[in-house]
Amino acid sequence: MKKSSISIFKTLLVASGLLCATSCSDFLDREPDQILTEEQVFSDPVMIRSVLANFYGRVTWGQHIGDSYTFTILDEAGKSDGGPDNIQRFSDTQWRVHDYGLIRNFNQFLQGLRNTTVLGETEKLQYEGEVRFLRAWTYFNMCKGLGGMPIVGDEVFEYSGGMDVTALQYARSTEAELYDYVISECEAISTMLSTDRNTNSARANKWAALMLKARAAIYAASIANYNNKMSSPIQTPGGEVGIPASMANGYYETALSAAEEVIENSPYELQLTKPDDLERNFYEATSVKDNNREVIWAKDHGYPGQGQQVNFTTANIPGSHAEDIDRAYAGPILNLVEDFEYSDSRNGDIKTRDDQDNYIFYDDPLDAFAGKDARLGGTVILPNSLFKGSQVPLQAGQKVWNNGAWQTITSQPGERDGAGRLITSINGPNRSNEQYINKTGFFFRKFLDETPGASTRGRNSDMWYPRFRFAEAVLIAAEAAMELGDQSTAVDYINRVRERAGIQPLSAVTLDDIIQERRVEFAFENHRYWDLKRFRKAHIVWNGVINSSTAQQWALFPYLVVAPGTSNDGKYVFERLPFSNSLHPRLFELRNYYNFIDFAWQNANPKIVLNPFQ
């Protein structure tokens, strides 16, 4: 016994001695192979470029085609996949942005960039413009959710253990100061950035900077304007939330001049390459990268390249056109479809019943949408419209005339009746809990990729996600001009967008016209939530009332009429129904106008003031 334990001990001793003697010296002297030093990066132009490229991939927040669920939260689309989504309220941290780690990275890059010797002056200026643009974009995204936040400028903070950190604790700026910072940064960099277009508008140029300036200014203007028109303006005593009403006009003027600079001097335009097919024209203006004239800055995706694709098409393609297993994850809802005007009427309601509450019969489901704003056909796949050259069927079932009453018949998708007539189409819609069947009556068209293979898991899509495009400059100019009292300028701008959509011009512009136009022009483009917030309409539109036309989600189900011997046999009728897969109306509350400050930030920095309602 004793012998074995001593020899074990000896062996251990010798072994550990060997370990120390041999591998110690090499082990701790290895070079890190996953961390690059400042010197390594800024002595190599390719490395500098690659760091900048990395930054472009870190600034995507809010709605995005990389996350189809984000489109189903509001009043634009409904999630058709699987069981019902029970959401009702909005999160206190809805789409909240807070990334000072990223801002620090930007500032580190700026520091290294300004001191590097391997780049020429023009290139240095261009890169500086781009990184400051991305930084301003980050602050803007923070501001529209949280209000004023600490502005750290170009600081790269140094920290050593045990130091007094009060100097590192910056207080929140006022909301106005943060918008002003974004605006002044955009002004400063607009002379550094190129005026040329670039591949797929993936990189920032002068026009992207001016668009950000215009958008920041119009957001600040509308908050200064409409927040103070509430019966209880939302504000903090120190101005971290809330902008004085007296500042509104100044911001509207800034927005108008920045937007007009883009409209008049940029190489972009309201794309009109297919004036004889306005629906196709609108689809191409937003969703086709080749020869695009409209999009100023986008989150681009690529193929091939690992991790460079996006699965919006794979998830949302109609089953009738699917190339793989996935399909029909979500679809536009009737609320959005009915907000598009008709060319002869500003009321977009689909006529499903007449004054005596009888069905209205259509030869083809698509006829119910005849004469609609061309942007509808470019944004939404309507029942029996074409995608990639073939029809997309959407038929919920049959309405059979039986003994003086209508009987509703539905089936498994694709089944036919005894006479060979389709009952429920392969695409649905239905009201079941199954996945892969549409439940709203419509499919996405905007951002749906027509490239062969784009709906397969193996290839996915390299569709881009536009962030700024020319139409926004026009509508910012229309809104700013209207608010400044210049109706003729406002009317001129809004009618340019309406003309491209094939609908009647307006003779005067009100706030409701602006909201309406932005709703239908920018569906699924991450504008709706921020627009209703800055106009302080969100709690009125999304008021939580059951069966409200705006807060409740609605579906439109087409049915084939089976009434042999009558003139209506073989025609189609529609039923308007609450969307079955998200039955609670949306409830936007006063506290949702600003994200909650995380208590952890206040723990780390006592100067951080909480937002109202916290």
Partner: protein, 224 residues
């Protein structure tokens, strides 16, 4: 033999040392009470954690409050450790004048605290009854703090005992009402599926002051 003892010793060591990791007993002491005006509890929306109070405690590194959720009948209860706390309403949350005054609570086992608030309006003389296919509602609006408009009053019918402006089976909004008046109205339930099913029904009335995030309510009554 030695090996076994060694293993036992190691196991014993582990058992002894793990006692020190995160082995606090759950708290047993309660702070309970009501949000009141004039001795009467204030009715609020009880669902969705809508109305909250906050418990702060000094002397710790982190400064986050503990949320205290107010039920629809105005009562609240929090189970925490003994100590000295500061109880305060949440900022701008509730159908009363925003008042962030602190109530000190010294907790030794149990503490009963009533939080006084000043509503903008109150509802009184509330009559709610089922009459055939209809719900008859009658109530009086009283101005307390006033100073702001009334957005609307609501008569709410629910299929569970939790009834509020987002949990209801039937809701009637009445606008253009003023303080000091008595509101009488009728809800027709003949097309309501929950009414037709014969199940229990509950009701209350509510008032939404303009610009406030919450409405004030009467207590829930059972209709049938």
């Amino acid at each position: 033999m030695k090996k076994n003892i060694n293993m036992l010793l190691v196991a014993a060591l582990l058992a002894v040392s793990s006692c020190g990791l995160d082995n606090y007993d759950a708290p047993e002491s309660i702070i309970y009470g009501r949000v009141v005006y004039n001795g009467e509890p204030v009715g609020v929306r009880g669902t969705g954690e809508a109305v909250q109070l906050q418990l702060y405690q000094d002397g710790y590194e982190l400064r986050n409050p503990i949320p205290v959720y107010v039920s629809q009948d105005g009562t609240f209860e929090a189970k925490v450790f003994d100590g000295e706390y500061k109880l305060v309403t949440r900022d701008n949350n509730g159908p009363w004048v925003n008042d962030r005054d602190t109530t000190i609570v010294n907790l030794r086992g149990a503490a009963h605290v009533d939080i006084e608030v000043t509503p903008f309006y109150t509802l009184s003389n509330v009559q709610l009854s089922l009459n055939g296919n209809n719900v008859d509602a009658s109530f009086q609006i009283n101005e307390v703090a006033g100073g702001r408009d009334i957005d609307y009053v609501m008569v709410l019918v629910g299929k569970t005992m939790f009834v509020d402006d987002v949990s209801y089976t039937e809701r009637l909004d009445i606008s253009d009402v003023s303080a000091g008046s008595t509101i009488t109205d009728v809800i027709d339930l003949s097309n309501n599926t929950d009414f037709k099913s014969g199940r229990s029904l509950y009701a209350r009335v509510g008032l939404r002051p303009a610009g406030k995030d919450q409405a004030i309510y009467s207590q829930v009554v059972k209709l049938r």
